[in-house]
Symmetry: C2
Subunit: 647 residues, 2 copies
Amino acid sequence: MTKLKSLPLTKISIDDSFWDKYIKLVQEVIIPYQWEILNDRVEGAKPSHCINNFKITAKEKEGEFQGAVFQDSDVAKWLEAVAYSLSTNPNKELEKSADEVIHLFGKAQDETGYLNTYYTIKEPNLRWTNLKEGHELYTSGHMIEAAIAYYKATGKDEFLQIMIRNADLICDVFSKDKNSEGYPGHQEIELALVKLFEVTGNKKYIDQAKAFINRRGHRPYYFDKEEKRPEYKRIFQEFAEYLPLYSQSHLPVREQKTAEGHAVRAVYMYCAMADLAYYYNDLELLESCKRLWDNITTKRMYITGAIGSSGILERFTTDYDLPNSSNYGETCASIGLALFGRRMMQITRDGKYMDVVEKALYNTVLSGIAMDGRSFFYVNPLEVWPDNCLVRTSMEHVKPMRQKWFGVACCPPNITRTLASLGEYIYSQTDNTLWINLFVEGSIGVNIQKKDLVVTTKTKFPFEGNISIQLEGNDDLEFDLAIRIPGYVNKYNILVDGINIQDKDCDKGYKYIKINGQKLIEVSFDLSPRFVRANPLVREDSGKVAIEKGPLVYCIEEIDNESNLPAYFVDTKQPINEEYYEGLLGGTTVLKLKGKKISQDNWTLDELYKETDVVWENKDLIAIPYCYWGNRTPGEMLVWMKEYYGG
Amino acid sequence: MTKLKSLPLTKISIDDSFWDKYIKLVQEVIIPYQWEILNDRVEGAKPSHCINNFKITAKEKEGEFQGAVFQDSDVAKWLEAVAYSLSTNPNKELEKSADEVIHLFGKAQDETGYLNTYYTIKEPNLRWTNLKEGHELYTSGHMIEAAIAYYKATGKDEFLQIMIRNADLICDVFSKDKNSEGYPGHQEIELALVKLFEVTGNKKYIDQAKAFINRRGHRPYYFDKEEKRPEYKRIFQEFAEYLPLYSQSHLPVREQKTAEGHAVRAVYMYCAMADLAYYYNDLELLESCKRLWDNITTKRMYITGAIGSSGILERFTTDYDLPNSSNYGETCASIGLALFGRRMMQITRDGKYMDVVEKALYNTVLSGIAMDGRSFFYVNPLEVWPDNCLVRTSMEHVKPMRQKWFGVACCPPNITRTLASLGEYIYSQTDNTLWINLFVEGSIGVNIQKKDLVVTTKTKFPFEGNISIQLEGNDDLEFDLAIRIPGYVNKYNILVDGINIQDKDCDKGYKYIKINGQKLIEVSFDLSPRFVRANPLVREDSGKVAIEKGPLVYCIEEIDNESNLPAYFVDTKQPINEEYYEGLLGGTTVLKLKGKKISQDNWTLDELYKETDVVWENKDLIAIPYCYWGNRTPGEMLVWMKEYYGG
């Protein structure tokens, strides 16, 4: 089966009431802000040293390397976001800044193709000696992805040529003859090399990606061998006691049955595995991908699409271990999950993958960024009590407020590139079918069977369930339009030029509609808010409910209610009332619930434990979308609410 | 008001069905086992190097120092336990081993009185240069305490003289003229110096203790100044970002209103503060002690008497922050809390302190040791799911099974000395009053108004509430017998030679009985099991109940019930049934409860979240005392159970 393709971003225009505020932020705030950050020009934010490191490497400046070993990747992610942004919103000044950085890359690259500021400035003799911690391949991967995006956006190939030279070096250094066992400590190069194969057609790149993936997990472990060599030099003290599963190198990938280790590393690797499974028609590898996906999404994923529940090592732990207040749930991991899911949908055409992609994008990815675009969450808890988020305690990784910029700044630029490339998630196509995966207002130009047509979507999704899809230019064209019917939709209605077709079967979450000149498809989803429960094996959530509306998970915040949110019990026998608040959080539907709260009346402040009855107070509750939490006065937040079982 | 005294251990004999199994373990298993550990002769346990370090220091051996900077304190705590044990159970062979170690101490001590193996072997030029991390004063403190205990137990003063020389050195080094600002990073020397004053009558020791306490918390901080000196050398990397509150040096002690920082350091300091408040009649300091005690026991203490809820830095966090599964709750911290509470009761004669002391001893201190005496808990969670207690995750400090011996081995010898000195908690006296604080079978010889009398207690407390107290030798004696009426006792009855006196008032938790020749006091407490709730501000416990019987907190374990304990909901409207199981866990009363469990029937293993109703199953539950958890097949454990509010 042919893999679906995303449409080129240059053909997609988004004009959506839900997403526009974020996409505008990317163009107007985040990309310029991050550019200032990369140049160390933001007061009160930690200097990133990024551009400076490249200038030193290019000998334009004197100085020492500063920042993390993978600092270069921040510039790469910024450039990738710039590229996506330029695809839809040309901006000469921005393009000029990007071109200057790219030119700087050229000067910083050495004659062999090597390009990495940390190793060039700080450890020139230690290149490729510490794959476990050194992040050279990771950084190159992000640079290659950025170069491809920039090439696609602008048609200019200076950056692409730089990164082809770098990729050629990597293919040489890690060839069978020279280093037949090495693989990266942080996966990312693999999916970049696949993309480079896709854009250049040169098979050596994907072969190298395959080699990296296939080398993982064999004993004796490469990282153990590497560490015994005289030239090995440790970078991170906490890696002294290294668990191979941290980097998914505990087993050959085909034998991995559960999602283990650092969550971002894991999902980036699964992306590459999915790509390789497709291009090499490797059904065994595809089975591994399906198994790992299922393990995550049926055992190890928060309802918000967050993954990786341990603060220490930002890692997966065990099935059903999903603590709500102490969890990590890194924004970047959910971005990786969305990337993985998109690939799986494009290979299998199964809407279940897109259900999770949508969940991750609408909840954890968006919660990662403030509505003013100037602060970010790394960690995405489902329950927050600001009082106990104290530094130098077990809760220190949890921040009750978004932070300006982090020392390790992976998440902000990763969110930026994701928002800027949103169009790649919305639509997919083959030669004769167009898939609509997400419901976002806007229009696309698409070429089906060599005919150009224009598809215009109008909707107020996710707050309302009506979606109208208008086709133009399809008068002499017969093709299939596949519309995703999300797993959470219990009732829906589809009219094609006024004719009801909802009795036709869905195929794996998609409704395939034969279009033969029809112009208007009117979809209507029932997006009534719903109470959702977790499998009782999720010990943290038993006796609790969450509320969802469409793909949105809702939460309660102290500012709309009272403090001590865990003392609330929701009465699920009462209806949930919806109301759209124009002026709240850029316009949002709030949900109103009935419940009870355990009273403080029979307790004094001197009493911690005693024999007493519970005294209940009736309380109304207001819930807002989880993605918007923490954008007002800081306070408590809660997703999973206790359920009141009394009469 | 005169401070009460504990009775000499040599006058106390314990013969109690509840405690004997532990006290016998101390004599028969733990002390011999720890002796083997100190001598590195236990296979499978981490070598302690303790004795070896002293032999190297004494030049009896060649070699390197090994172990932690405070390694010497393990031997000290062992010797203190040996002393207490010898007080009640003379043992020539054990005494010979102890004498040999003491003799070795003498050889390891230098001519100035200095005695510390780490600094003598490893950093001879850095003595007293790193009070923040070096633990020299902490180690000396434990050595002094051991020396005093050994002197009291055996009458031999070799050890005491060694430690007097050491204390003299400390008083000199930290005198006003030489170092007028230094104080220890880990408090302990202060309470040892008070004891040394008590046993020698030399006021300089308590003056030095007072100076150490009064120096804390003034700015600029001593530890900051120390760190800037050229001779400073960091020992613990994680102390690079040091919070002064970690060692309670963030504020002068009189200004401290909340219990902060490392829990063991905190309570050891509060012990010294209470001692100083008494001896200097310092009412302001006593107020500080009361305020800090109240902050702990009304805001920051688990129902088990565990304190210090953060795994990172083993520290207090904030009011009402008492997570059940990820908590630290170090055994040593509860021991320190008991030591602090005993002092406060002895100063104030208020039984509320003894309520907490009893809670800590019967629950967290006992849970720290396996019923075979061979393995130990540092960390005392109230909820355990072994599957998620994974190394290299946020839960790695929590162990579902007791461990043989730790690298940092403070808890096992601390438990040992506490059990061996239990008698010091049971009784207190002044010239004309005898207090019975805890209800333990056994007899004492006590001198009241220069008359010797024998008091014999018979009871099956805490499983039964009847306590009979027989007096002998009091024919011509008028004195007061004070019997503690625990805060948890709702109904009780006291007969004195058959005459009911329970209508007389209690004074701060003690019933004072005028004894004028009477022989038999029969106390009967209602120890029916009870449901207890937490203040609703304890977010972790809202909607939950705990079960207590007397001082015992109960828990449910997987082995007596089923897995997935958090899915159980207790029906608090149903009675709790008690049953004594002779053969279980050395003989224990189990509690039988009625409840419901959320069924798994409407869930498949592929479903993580969905719209569905809760299906209930009726379930009976069996609870055992918390202190006995983890002594059978490893599995889940839970103290705070959800409450079923349905009909």
